[in-house]
Amino acid sequence: MYKIAGQLAWKSLMRRKTRTWMVITMIAMSLSGLLLLQGIYDGMVSHMINTAIRSDSGEISLYASKYRLEKNLDYRIGNLEDIKKYLDKQNMIDAYVIRLAQEGLAATAHKSLGAILKGISLEDERRFGNFDTFLSQGEYSFGDKDREALVGFKLAEKLKATLGSRLIFTAQDANGEINAIAFRIKGIVKTGGLAIDEGSIFISMEKMAEFLSLSGAATQIALRIKNESKIKNVQNALQREFESIDVLRWDELYPLLIQMREMMDVFNMVSYMIVFTIAALGIFGVILVSILERVREFSIMLAIGTPYQNIRHQIVTEAFIMSLFGYVLGAFSGGILLLYTASSGIDFRYFEAGLESFGLNAVLYADIRGYYFLQAFGAVFFATLLSVLWPLRVLKKIKPIEAIQGKML
């Protein structure tokens, strides 16, 4: 019996082609826009998270307890050999890096700025998070005898330093003596993470140890974990093994990124709600008008005994056929847009000049996740449902006898 309702729905839609196409296009276009927006949002956040993980925290970072609070070499990880031995045994850990950092003053003849000097191993960092891919100028090297350094691009800019410039870094060593060290800039790095871009200088671990009169120590050990779902387990295991050390996940170190992600989710939801409320209004208008112009027809159908459910079914089917077409078209074009932005990215320099100066990569790549399409389907479904409620009420009020006798039109 519903087959005939379906047929009627289809035929009615075909009769008003322009109108039907308008609704379908509306749904399709707003849907693809929303899908793209969501993809870029997620892409941006995951890019930031990924950068933070690759260039700094890893999935898990170890600090001596109190170090993060005092930023003082007194609170350093001393039992490095034990930890290394332990880490080497863990097959959940993909890679790890050992860093030794100290805050101090970076200076050129023109300017001095607060900065963080980090002793690292270039080879380890490359394995850890492809740190070399962040290099924007110069060479990924500490030069002969480790006398050169890599510098965050924003810091270099502020210090008016370029490749080959001489930098002086002054800081306290492990004995509390204030020392200074000079090096030339071999490479400039740009990660998009501000801690590095605006304030970090990297030198070799050996040079750092010498400068601070401190060997076999670290301020941070960052770990890459193979399996995302195992991060917590590894964290707990490490914490049990090394009680005096702070074992922190990246999301504990960068709560702001998690907040951003959640904020974006809320933002996406609000966007979906607004867009589909408006879209529902459009579907509503079309459905209402199509009911009103067919009141007579419906009346006759009712009079000759067509069950009310059958007519309701016809209306609902009409609405859902449009939505479904809109959805399929929108999901398809949105999917293509997403695929394109996921592979080629969108260059936002055209849109917002200032974006890059705040450290964000100007070319954004979208994420694609299956649930986008599910979520979009839900939104379309709800909007459609919403849009037919009122027209169905109108339909219910139709008194066949009045319509037949011409009182209603």
């Binding site: 050129t108 023109h110 002054t170 000079a182």
Partner: protein, 243 residues
Amino acid sequence: MKYLLSFIFITIILCGSEADMIIKKVEDNLRGDFMYAQMRMIVTGKRGVRTVEVESWSKGDNKSFIKILYPKKDRGITFLKLDTQMWQYIPKIERTIKIPPSMMLQSWMGSDFTNDDMVKESSMAKDYHANLLSKTSSTATIELRPKAHAAVVWGKIIVDIDLNHMVPITEVYYDDQMEKVRIMTFGNIQQHGSHRLPMVMELKPLDPEKKSNRTKVIFEKVDYDNYIDESYFSKHALKRYSN
């Protein structure tokens, strides 16, 4: 050919050593085991002119005690530096505060000097190669180039020296690209006991955005020859000598 090369080489060493000698003499002249000074610092910046007057007592490189005399609001604030540690006493709240090490690199009293500058003597003789550029009977011009791994920011410093008094007249600082960054001029040379020194120093940055800045230091009293009591270099001194 070989001869010629070795000749040039020897000349460079000789010249170098003469320049080094001059620099060393100048530094010795400005330095003493004990030093008492009363000085006025005038800082001209974007926000107008400020004057600070201090009294300072120091012993060797490691111990110094400073007391602020002017401006009136800050009078009585005292600083003590022993090796790598530094304390400050503020009479208004009657508290002594230990300056954390990271603060040692901060600007001192809003001047272009850092806290560390106030207590650490950097040695030109130690960090630079000196090279005599020209010499007359009364003056010498010496070029100072940093030693390979010396942690100094300058690309070079050109110093004019008054050979009669063994004091500097002007110092011009250059950056890495050999551009002038700042000029320091010295004047009003006076003899104080065993030492002879310029009583006025003025620092003038050449960076475009700092063009109007000046820092002028005027020594009002200097004494190199009197023993300074150990009592100045203890934490008790902070409060005791505050008034």
